[in-house]
């Protein structure tokens, strides 16, 4: 959610039950403006909170002018001091996929993972147990990246693509209408499109290239991995991801307010197909 409308966004996203205490909210308001100034970001988003056993991580992201460019991620333990996280790489994701369970809450904590590696010494090939140390920070980075790629959501029309390439925030976005807001096809994944080129020509003909340049949520697998609800009568539409439980996206139809926040344990729900 945008740091500029933090209080309102927190209020709207509070239906999931996970909020922030008043002292955290106040610290966020001040620290995020400082972050914006110091790092010279165009927009700062409060991404959410990953719950650890000992402490929680508060995550923020900074965006540059081009909305789909890779974002800088920062974390903090107390909402005042923010530290930059390294960008995620493929190796990181692979490496940390073996780590299961909750986050500890200590960024310097190291997970020990024993794996059997084939070592060859001379002519002998034998397996040796190697203990790999994985830092929690690495795990944090990869989890945030996975969540962003999988379930970050933006409504259709909130961003538009200029002919030169960069993606801008659409300042004339007045919000989705009520009928559009109830359909999953009006929401896009906030990431580089993956499925777009696989569409048939017929489908592409109906798309508006300046608005429909991202994948929609409609074709997510497994089907039904999004729960879409209207709260407060029809005044607020809330999307919750069932694949990463804790990700809440809210939008007030006919207004500009929208945003998503992740408050959860950072664990993917791999039982999803059985639970539906």
């Amino acid at each position: 959610m945008d740091a500029e409308s933090l209080l309102l966004s927190l209020e709207l996203a509070s239906g999931s039950g996970q909020g922030l205490s008043p002292d955290r909210r106040a610290s966020l308001l001040t620290s995020l403006t400082l972050v914006k100034r110091d790092y010279r970001y165009d927009r700062v988003l409060f991404w959410g909170r990953i719950l650890g056993l000992v402490a929680d991580y508060y995550i923020a992201q900074g965006l540059s002018e081009d909305q789909l460019a890779p974002r800088k991620t920062l974390y903090s333990l107390n909402c005042m001091e923010w530290s930059l996280l390294p960008p995620a790489t493929e190796d990181m994701v692979v490496q940390t996929s073996v780590v299961k369970g909750r986050f500890m809450g200590d960024p310097s904590h190291e997970y020990e993972h024993t794996e059997l590696q084939k070592m060859s010494e001379g002519e002998k090939v034998f397996e040796e147990e190697v203990v790999v140390q994985i830092k929690e920070e690495t795990r944090l980075v990869s989890v945030i990246d996975q969540i962003d790629k999988a379930v970050a959501v933006i409504p259709r029309g909130a961003l538009f693509k200029t002919p030169f390439g960069p993606i801008h925030v659409n300042r004339t976005f007045e919000g989705l209408s009520l009928s559009e807001a109830k359909k999953l096809s009006s929401y896009f994944h906030f990431r580089e499109p993956v499925e777009l080129k696989n569409k048939t020509l017929l489908e592409k003909a109906d798309l508006d290239p300046s608005l429909d340049f991202m994948d929609s949520l409609e074709h997510d697998i497994p089907k039904g991995s999004w729960s879409i609800q209207m709260e407060r009568g029809n005044a607020l539409v809330v999307l919750r991801s069932l694949l990463w439980p804790g990700l809440t996206f809210f939008h007030a139809p006919r207004t500009k307010n929208c945003g998503y926040i992740y408050v959860g344990t950072g664990e993917k729900n791999i039982d999803l197909p059985f639970m539906l």
Partner: protein, 641 residues
């Protein structure tokens, strides 16, 4: 045949239909500025686009007055006639109204004259209408200059329509418009006003062009640009250039989607208004009740409604919170519940998120002696079922003696049904009411049976939000979503309701012995509790205790031997008795007694699976599909710390 017809697309568009009201609007606007709105008054004609576009000038002028003088049909015929005459007779035909279209209002009265001319023209209608359209363009272009010469009626204007100069003394101002000679070909015309300057003429022509509308679109470019610029000037956004495309799009959209009449109800907002009405009822009722009876004041101190706002405040400090207005609405809804049902104590248990809707759960105790009528209804069918089974088995035995060749009876007997616990004890200590939203009626959840708890431990399903939805899973769950919800609530309550050590104590009873783990199941608040410092509470888990009974693997809090023979079972034949003997050595299940500290929870010293870390924090035992927002009694629960 002449030039190829110009590309119709770039031409200014003509409307396919014009309502007379628009006609009058345009006309009145015309009065203010001279350039004619050439294409405005084209009525609905059954011509195709090409015809219309090619015959723009002719049509426009023709139809300007046709609307007023005669019906569209006549106009159509008139047009046909026009074109017909065009191709057959290049001369000698009068087209009096052609020029009239470009004249301001005063010339309208001459429609009567037109009618006379129309009849004469109609005679020519019979001639070869079929080939009309094909030759239209070329004929039109060719006869352009000839037309002008045919206006015998308006001799005075001939000055401006020199045949020799097809485009007249005025210059075509827009070089891009090569293909539409018609609109620009005709002069804006007013006998009373002297001939305008060429430059002014050009401006008027340009404006005329911009005011055109097309068959498919009733919005002219001129009007659209006016709207757009007005909007920009009114709103004065920053950096309007970057917004230009979006504003363009929205302005166009707004033209075609006018705001609904204020007298009409917006259908999309209906559910919002309904919800608001319902919730208004919440607020009003509480107000009315308070004002009605003065006696209520005495009972205020003893009201069962919990102070939701206070507990919400504490939870918010911990970072677990619903928004404050939602908490208030929940408070109102609980108040409503207390008024409707005979409730002794009530507590907001929490919120369970579902796929389509969520559940708000209230934990309730009825007053002493208030037996729930629904309970008995549920029990009766069960007893009836057991009686039938016994009867069927007896019949089966009789048959067996008579008939030798019989299908062997399966030896498998379903495991004995473990009776559920009495209300107000064990897992059924409290009653639970759920509703989807504050303002909706509260529904009571049935008591939970042990088999439901046992099965609920094995499955993991999302809640949909509808209490009567089936729970389709493997192993199959005996019940619908209401039972599953109740079972989950029971498991959560049993595992996670904790309080600081010493807050609750056992009541002083005479019979203090343990009965094989069945122990004490009641506690009371300790009046001498002084509180434990926060640091100690955080450091050691031994300072926290469970104050709900642990659920045994059997599914109950107190163990029951299912093999105890009831009276019905003793009537059964000998075969069943033999089968039973093998199972008699069932062990009594034992669970930790009440008020056990958290440090003795299973998993407190367990190492987590692959990460290799030792986790000394007790984990909540039940893996939950959706994180429910579960609260305990007044002591705030510290979960993640």
């Amino acid at each position: 045949m002449g030039d190829t017809p110009p590309d119709p697309e770039p031409r200014p568009q003509q409307p396919s239909s014009r309502r007379s009201s628009q006609v009058s609007q345009r006309r009145s606007r015309e009065l203010s500025h001279l350039p004619p709105t050439i294409s405005e008054e084209v009525p609905r004609i059954a011509f195709d686009d090409r015809v219309l576009q090619s015959g723009q000038g002719i049509l426009a002028s023709q139809n300007n007055f046709q609307d007023w003088s005669s019906g569209p049909l006549l106009t159509q015929q008139e047009n046909l006639t026009m074109f017909q005459a065009e191709e057959d007779q290049l001369g000698g035909v009068e087209y009096p109204s052609l020029n009239m279209g470009f004249q301001p209002q005063p010339y309208l009265e001459e429609g009567g004259i037109q009618a006379a001319r129309n009849t004469s023209l109609m005679q020519q209608l019979q001639q070869g209408q079929g080939s009309l359209f094909q030759q239209l363009n070329s004929a039109y272009l060719e006869t352009q200059p000839n037309f002008l010469g045919q206006f015998s009626m308006y001799q005075g204007e001939d000055l401006q329509f020199n045949q020799g100069a097809p485009h007249g003394p005025y210059m075509r101002d827009d070089p891009a418009l090569q293909y539409s000679p018609s609109e620009l070909g005709f002069m804006p015309f007013n006998v009373e006003v002297p001939e305008p300057e060429p430059r002014e003429l050009a401006v008027q022509n340009a404006k005329a062009y911009l005011l055109q509308t097309s068959v498919s679109c009733s919005l002219s470019l001129y009007e659209h640009l006016v709207n757009l610029l007005t909007k920009i000037l009114n709103q004065r956004p920053e950096d309007p250039l970057s917004l230009l495309e979006s504003l363009n799009r929205t302005t166009q959209w707004e033209w075609f989607h006018p705001r609904l009449d204020t007298m009409r109800d917006d259908p999309e907002m209906e559910p919002t208004y309904e919800t608001a009405d319902r919730q208004k009822g919440l607020f009003l009722r509480s107000g009315a009740a308070g004002e009605g009876e003065q006696e209520m004041e005495e009972e205020v101190a003893e009201t069962a409604v919990p102070n939701v706002m206070e507990t919400a405040f504490y939870f918010e400090q911990a970072g677990v919170a619903l928004s404050s207005d939602e908490s208030f609405r929940i408070f109102m809804a609980l108040k409503q519940l207390v008024e409707q049902q005979p409730i002794h104590t009530c507590r907001f248990w929490g919120k369970v998120l579902g796929l389509s809707r969520s559940y708000l759960v209230a934990e309730v105790e009825f007053r002493e002696g208030e037996e729930e009528g629904e309970e008995e209804e549920v029990e009766e069918p069960m007893e009836g079922g057991e009686g039938l089974d016994a009867h069927a088995e007896e019949e089966g035995e009789e048959d067996e003696e008579k008939v030798t060749d019989v299908i062997p009876k399966p030896m498998w007997k379903p495991p004995p049904v473990i009776p559920k616990e009495e209300s107000r004890s064990g897992t059924n200590k409290y009653l639970y009411f759920v509703c989807n939203e504050p303002g909706r009626p509260w529904t009571r959840l049935p008591h939970v049976t042990p088999i439901q708890i046992v099965q609920a431990r094995k499955i993991k399903k999302f809640f949909t939000g509808y209490l009567d939805a089936p729970v389709i899973s493997f192993p199959p769950f005996p019940g619908n979503e209401a039972s599953y919800l109740r079972a989950q609530i029971a498991r959560i309550s049993a595992a996670t309701h904790i309080s600081p050590l010493g807050f609750y104590q056992f009541g002083e009873e005479e019979g203090d012995e343990e009965e094989g783990g069945a122990g004490r199941d009641s506690y009371e608040e300790n009046p001498d509790f002084e509180g434990i410092p926060v640091l100690e509470l955080v450091d050691s888990m031994a300072n926290w205790v469970h104050h709900t009974q642990h659920i045994l693997p059997q599914g109950r809090c107190t163990w029951v031997n299912p093999l105890q023979k009831t009276e019905e079972e003793e009537e059964l034949g000998e075969e069943e008795e033999k089968a039973d003997e093998g199972l008699e050595d069932m062990e009594q299940e034992v669970g930790p007694p009440l008020l056990t500290p958290l440090s003795e929870d299973a998993g407190s010293l367990r190492t987590s699976t692959l990460a290799g870390a030792t986790s000394t924090v007790p984990r909540t035992s039940t893996p939950l599909c959706q994180p429910p927002f579960s609260t305990s009694t007044p002591a705030a629960r510290k979960s993640w710390k």
